[in-house]
């Protein structure tokens, strides 16, 4: 059963069909919100709001793009609204840095990434960060957060490995070429900064 079939069923009032759509795309929606907000709780809340909005506006879905792209656009817009309204993004990043510093000093040197991952995903450390060295991960993390939003957002979305360039372009309302350039520029800036700090 394709997404379009499920959408048609959900439009006709089939709640099970919409729940199937939720089961299919909830992870992608959640990761998009996570890329924008940096907090698992905020991302979960925003994703739920996005699903409710999608359910309410299901009749407005014209099928010009895929349901997944349409949903991700809703999620991204909701996440940006949340980020602008609450203004907690910078505060959370600062507090996470402080938590990471304290955790790094308290815990053994061989487990710094566990604290960072727990701070990022809140009780769910990612295996990628766990495999990375502590100092390089911390510096890279700070540099990524210090990037301007127009470079950081496409880098995080593409770097999550969840979305194609076309989907990211639809979410950011930018051409695919622009998204590619921004991702490349973000990587170049990060490499240059890490090189200046002695990582070669």
């Amino acid at each position: 059963v394709t997404d379009q079939d499920l959408v048609e069923l959900a439009r006709s009032g089939d709640a099970v069909a919409f729940e199937a759509l939720v089961g299919r795309h909830h992870r992608a929606a959640l990761r998009a919100a996570m890329a924008a907000l940096g907090s698992a709780d905020e991302a979960d809340d925003v994703t739920q709001e996005a699903w409710i909005t999608a359910h309410a506006r299901l009749h407005d879905f014209r099928g010009e793009a895929s349901f997944r792209t349409w949903l991700l656009t809703i999620v991204w817009n909701k996440a940006l609204d949340r980020r602008r309204q609450m203004g907690r993004w910078l505060q959370r990043m600062v507090s996470l840095d402080a938590r990471w510093e304290s955790d790094a000093s308290d815990h053994a040197r061989e487990q710094p990434t566990g604290a960072l991952a727990a701070a990022l995903s809140e009780r769910r450390p990612s295996p990628e960060l766990a495999l990375l060295g502590g100092d390089l991960a911390r510096r890279t993390l700070r540099m990524v957060r210090a990037l301007p939003a127009r470079l950081r957002d496409p880098l995080l979305l593409i770097g999550s490995g969840e979305y194609s360039y076309e989907e990211v372009a639809a979410m950011l309302h930018a051409p695919v070429g622009t998204v590619k350039w921004r991702v490349s520029e973000a990587r170049r800036l990060l490499r240059a900064k890490l090189t200046r700090q002695g990582y070669e």
């Binding site: 939720v22 992870r27 990761r31 990628e128 960060l129 770097g159 890490l194 990582y199």
Partner: protein, 217 residues
């Protein structure tokens, strides 16, 4: 050559580090509980939307019903008012005054307009200087007292009821400065002279008085 290779390896290392950090910043697994929570929330939202839709339907119909009721009440009231007024008009005597809005203003009396003889207390009263003014005042008073009644009626009553003027002129002619009525003395004469009545010839032989009145043969 080896430097280039090491530099390339460093770049690969840095890129790999960046990728891992970036992936770690977005890696969050959606648990089944989260999916169930989302489904439950969507279900509740859909129920609330249905309730809101029903309420919106009710509220969208309520103003129409209210307007319809109000229009019906107004229509009934207008119909009843018209029916009552028509009924009162049917039972009203013909001489009863009509509504003021249909009344025409009474014609203004000018000095050139003669006062009806019945209003005059004497044959010369109509020529008195204050008579027309009094008549005009009576007309205005009558129109005011009639409280907007028909102008024709006012005019008719003014013509029919000049009693006040008669009484006033009869009781207090001096106060109203009306001259005394003329009295015509009986004609008394002692000498009556008759002039000869001219008679035109009619082709008939004159009557001989002597023969006519004379002794018969």
């Amino acid at each position: 050559m080896s430097d280039d290779t090491s530099a390339g390896r460093d770049h690969v290392t840095l890129d790999a580090a960046i990728d891992r950090v970036v992936r770690g910043m977005t890696q969050v697994e959606a648990s089944e509980d989260a999916v169930f929570r989302v489904q439950a929330r969507v279900r509740n939202a859909s129920r609330q939307a249905e309730v809101r839709t029903r309420a919106a339907r009710v509220w969208s119909l309520t103003p129409r019903a209210a307007w319809t009721c109000a229009a019906t009440v107004v229509l009934i009231a207008l119909t009843a008012a018209y029916w009552l007024s028509s009924r009162q008009t049917a039972h009203r005597p013909t001489e009863a005054p009509r509504h003021a809005s249909t009344a025409q203003p009474p014609p203004a009396i000018t000095h050139a307009e003669p006062v009806p003889p019945v209003m005059s207390s004497s044959p010369t009263a109509s020529k008195a200087p204050n008579t027309n003014a009094r008549a005009s005042r009576r007309v205005r008073a009558a129109s005011v007292a009639s409280d907007g009644y028909d102008s024709s009626e006012v005019w008719t009553s003014d013509l029919i009821v000049p009693e006040n003027a008669i009484v006033m002129t009869a009781i207090a002619p001096a106060l109203l400065a009306i001259p005394e009525p003329l009295s015509v003395a009986p004609l008394e004469t002692e000498t009556l002279t008759l002039k000869a009545i001219p008679v035109s010839p009619m082709g008939v032989a004159p009557i001989d008085l002597e023969r006519a009145g004379g002794p018969r043969e």
